[in-house]
């Protein structure tokens, strides 16, 4: 199968270029960029000057298999991903039970096979994500785990963590942690400050993130492990991250799209779809995080896709589940940063596609000959109003319900195969 993308605005974050031209795909790989002649037998896709970028590699997606398939299955998540321009899902192990043995990883891998998008799995760093004993990191690597994380659960025992880090370092495994001091953030529903005080909600200082990050970075320095912080959302965490990188530690950091596009005031009158982990921050933190993505200090933008059913959200704010679905809204929301003049398309796709692929050692995220033809074609300007009930996810807990978005995915390709088309739906 040969595809000829004609007259596309090619976003290539690896080369940091944005050119208008053609792109040839054959046998699942990008073969040539910039050629002029249509090869014989090729299917021509007229891009009409719209954007063609490497598909998103979404680092940290919660899928409810095993255990909570009513909230999200591999199938529903894949459909949502395809519709959102996400071509590789990096699934989190915070399932029920956790993915913490080669056997459970094998189960998940089988369930995830033959979906329209690529799905790779992370495994738990400690058994049951409980922070007491490390998992079989070697076996799990052999079984295909791309990284090790206890997701939202923070290990409090530094000894356990230091051993897990040391062991992971020997195997060159990537460890992903959620930087947070759990003692300080226990019970918190929002970020402390004026808004938390006004709403009478228990708040946590952003300093809890700094403290968690400080500890993790000290352990990373001690052990030499390859470390990634899943979400850095506070301005106060950034200097610590900057110092660690300057000191040559093998550390990277991510941020969720919500923390880049929303702030604590969006919670308004106790809207539980805006309850996230960590909680939404002040506007100054949001702007600092955007700037850090621009400078490359924060490497990765992810969806932090976390499905929750209606029942777990239709509760008083403190009792409601945290998290939001975002596979399908990640790209349109990211376009807010582009239209707002905060980030260029190259900066965005560096963080959405290239950097997560690089960090995980995947060949995706590039727009060059020889790379997998995982591509997203989108119109950065097309406006629409989001209706949460039209999302492909089984769970509809998006904070963008009813929001005016600008930027729409038109088609998604994985390995040179079209897995989504905006037209088919109309």
């Amino acid at each position: 199968m040969t595809l000829f993308f004609e007259n596309a605005r090619l976003i290539d974050p690896a080369a940091n270029t944005e050119t208008t031209g053609n792109l040839l795909v054959r046998d699942g790989l990008i073969r040539e960029v910039g050629l002029t002649e249509v090869p014989e037998g090729a299917r021509v896709i007229d891009c009409s000057g719209l954007c063609l970028a490497p598909g998103i590699v979404d680092l940290g997606v919660k899928i409810g298999e095993p255990g909570e398939r009513h909230m999200e299955s591999f199938r529903s998540a894949s459909l949502a991903a395809a519709a959102g321009g996400v071509t590789t899902i990096i699934a989190r192990p915070d399932t029920a039970p956790a993915i913490d043995t080669p056997e459970s990883l094998e189960f998940a891998t089988k369930r995830a096979a033959e979906q329209p998008v690529r799905i790779r799995h992370m495994a738990a760093l400690t058994k049951g994500r409980a922070g007491r004993e490390m998992t079989e990191i070697g076996f799990l690597l052999d079984a295909g785990a791309v990284a090790f994380t206890d997701a939202g659960h923070v290990a409090t025992d530094a000894k356990v963590l230091s051993r897990a880090f040391t062991y992971a370092r020997a195997l060159e495994a990537l460890v992903i942690c959620h930087p947070q001091e759990p003692g300080l953030s226990h019970g918190a529903a929002v970020t402390s400050g004026k808004f938390a005080a006004l709403r009478g909600l228990p708040g946590v200082s952003p300093m809890a993130e700094r403290m968690g990050l400080d500890r993790d970075l000290a352990l990373a320095e001690m052990t030499g492990v390859r470390y990634h912080a899943d979400q850095i959302t506070s301005a106060r965490s950034l200097p610590a991250l900057e110092r660690a990188k300057a000191a040559g530690l093998d550390v990277t950091a991510g941020v969720s799209i919500h923390h880049l596009t929303l702030n604590e005031l969006d919670v308004g009158d106790y809207r539980t779809f805006f309850k996230l982990t960590p909680p939404l921050r002040a506007e100054s933190d949001r702007l600092a995080a955007i700037e850090a993505v621009g400078s490359g200090l924060i490497d990765v933008i992810c969806s932090m896709h976390t499905p929750a059913d209606e029942e777990s959200k239709r509760l008083p704010f403190e009792q409601a589940a945290a998290g939001a679905v975002a596979l399908e809204t990640l790209l349109p929301a990211a376009m807010r940063l582009y239209h707002g003049g905060h980030l260029t398309l190259n900066q965005l796709f560096r963080a959405l596609s290239l950097n997560p692929a690089k960090r995980l050692g995947l060949p995706q995220g590039r727009l060059e000959a020889g790379s997998p033809a995982d591509l997203v074609l989108f119109d950065p300007d097309r406006p629409f109003v989001l209706d949460r009930f039209k999302l492909h996810s089984k769970s509809k807990n998006t904070p963008f319900d009813g929001a005016r978005m600008q930027g729409k995915v038109l088609a998604t390709f994985v390995g040179g195969v079209q897995v989504y088309s905006d037209n088919k739906e109309q």
Partner: protein
Amino acid sequence: MAFRARHLLGIEHLAPEEILTVLDLADRYVDLNRRTVKRTDALEGMTQINMFFENSTRTQSSFELAGKRLGADVMNMAMQNSSVKKGETLIDTALTLNAMHPDLLVVRHGASGAVDLLAQKVNCAVVNAGDGKHEHPTQALLDALTIRRAKGRLHGLTVAICGDVSHSRVARSNMLLLGKMENHVRLIGPPTLMPSGFGEFGVDIYEDMRAGLKGADVVMMLRLQKERMDGGFIPSEREYFHRYGLDAEKLGFAAPDAIVMHPGPMNRGVEIDGTIADDITRSVIQEQVEMGVAVRMAVMDLLAQNLRAERGRAATENLARGTFV
């Protein structure tokens, strides 16, 4: 301007004129409540349900009495021993009650925002009788009425709110109301019981009680919950009383004619000296209780008027469309 609100969920969304409307009507109900025959027919035929998910004797009986004096059929539901225990969600409970067609729902709940959530799901008027650490609007209104009657005005006063501000919905509602009416609000308490962020509300924050009380016209004490006394937030009960308990010596820093208030129930010897609480020349604590019934009557009367008007409009529209429902 009249009182336009559909529900009374908090002080935050009330306009100063609406607050004054409530207080003016409450003044009239104070007079009524002092007569031998205390009944009116403002809520005649209407049903009021008191749903208290948290224990309360004082507030619940105040609302019950208010409803009965207005002629409503009042039902009390002790939610602690109800279907909530069997796992029913707040919204399901609300929908169940809603199907019984109450006109007024008085709700107290332990979670901030729970009453807002419930109000979205029912088609009667909802009164927030305290939600978590968020708001307790009728308490702030009755405090305002007490202050206005004692001081002759409700503006330009210096009001010191002292104690456990952090866990207090009373403090939040009072701070908002007194701010809207252009008073100087001071918050006094140990920093462990003072939420970060309150400094941005245009109030002054004091850690030293004597400095905070200096020249205050109104001293409003807050209750310190027993469970917060054991080392978590403050070192001990006796150290708290020593530093933040209201006694004659500390009260001496306030204005000579300062009044002393407390939302009750009091912990004598913890946040307030018994002799101060009982000093009828300074303490207006009993008046607060009296004003409570009158204010709640006024609030429910106004909400019922709005409810009637809304239903009347709906009926007229139906009539105009030729649909009789």
